[in-house]
Amino acid sequence: MTYVKYGSIILITLVIVAGIGIPMSLEPAGFFEFPLIPGLEDKARNIFFHVPTAWTSVLAFLVGTFFGIRYLRTKNIEDDYKSVSAAGLGLLFCILATVTGALWARFNWGTFWNWDPRQTSIFILLLIYGAYFALRSAIESDEKRASLSAVYSIIAGLTVPFFVFVMPRMMAGLHPGARDDPSGKGPLMQSGMIAGNMRVFFYLSLLGFTLLFIWLLNLRIRAARLEHEHSRQQH
């Protein structure tokens, strides 16, 4: 956990410094210059911060569902609070991804919300998290709450592959990789544009946020365990 903790701090600090500090030029020379993309300019730097939040919220959903499945198999209440802790963090990062995404969209595409496939996906993820917590608050028995919310998160997870197929076909996309994007990759991912240095920092950022998620999850689970043990002593 020490590596995770300091790793996440160092990586995210590094990415913030590099992501904001490294200058941009139309013809980058060397590693310490990002390519300047007309129309995106400095906003391209958002990729280091906005995308990892969305990634973390999806990761949290997967982790939460994984522990949900494990609860159904073991009926060990500890798996349930691991699952709910992951979901709580997922909700946090989902909100962050939605808000930062809306802000970026405002200055890049003109409006806060465009119903672009990825915006729709993150909105649905937000709805799923909302429904998950609404369900949990409506059940009194601990065991019942644990198994029903696990079942719900699995059922919700089952619809995810469909979104991957359905969404891009149904609506015009603005994000890179959408149907009507001629290059199929979007300006940021186009070969040569992000290649090299930007990509390095992007992956470092993903790693940093993943480590941050593991650290926060660990803290949250420890708190939940304390709470659990305390209420057990009360009885």
Binding site: S141, D142, H228, R232, H235
Partner: protein, 207 residues
């Protein structure tokens, strides 16, 4: 004699991290009977539900054996009869329809119309068999629950508060049922009443 028995091993049930009962172990063989006693809220009904396979235990095992081989819980349920205040029948059906519908759903080949009529007759519901259950009094509903529980000649009969809402005549019929069950399988009675607990050979007190 048919070899049908229930083995309970280390049975524990917890609700909201509070244990209802802990580490129960016993065996019930053919012809045996067991009374479960205890205060209100001591977990009598929970134990009965767990034994019938309606509640999953937190730890431990409930196993039914017929002729030495263990039964899957869904097969065992076909040999279980239960009368419980938590178990209700359908208000919008008549007494007879309830029995027929439920035995059709059970579908282990014995959707016996005559048997249903016989049970209704035995519990004094013959004249009301074609009336909707919502018009029944609470005592009549209790009698109908007995008809449902005994319809498929269960080898394990569980009675939770066996005489609630019953009049003197009803109680006499129940006593006769209890006597017969001793030769047809085994019997479990959950009750507060000393006299009813006395119908059984053995007793578990949940405190």
């Amino acid at each position: 004699m048919i070899d049908f028995e229930l083995t309970v091993n280390g049975l524990t049930k917890e609700f909201n991290r509070r244990s209802i009962f802990r580490d129960l172990s016993f065996t019930l063989a053919f012809n045996e009977s067991l009374a479960i006693t205890g205060r209100n809220g001591s977990g009598k009904s929970t134990l009965v539900k767990t034994l019938c396979g309606l509640l999953a235990p937190t730890r431990g095992k409930v196993e039914y054996r017929s002729g030495g081989t263990m039964l899957e819980i869904d097969d065992a349920k076909h040999k279980v009869g239960l009368v419980s205040p938590y178990l209700q029948l359908y208000d919008e059906f008549t007494g007879l329809e309830n029995l027929l519908v439920l035995s059709n759903i059970r579908a282990n080949g014995t959707s016996d119309h005559d048997r249903a009529l016989h049970m209704l007759e035995r519990f004094g519901l013959g004249s009301r068999q074609d009336d909707y259950v919502r018009t029944y009094s609470s005592g009549m509903k209790q009698r109908l629950k007995y008809c449902f529980a005994l319809l498929h000649t269960p080898q394990a009969l569980f009675l939770d508060e066996p005489t609630s809402n019953l009049d003197a005549e009803g109680i006499e019929i129940v006593k006769a049922v209890v006597r017969e069950q001793r030769n047809a399988g085994f019997l479990v009675v959950a009750t507060n009443d000393e006299q009813e607990a006395g119908w059984c050979q053995r007793r578990i007190d949940l405190g």
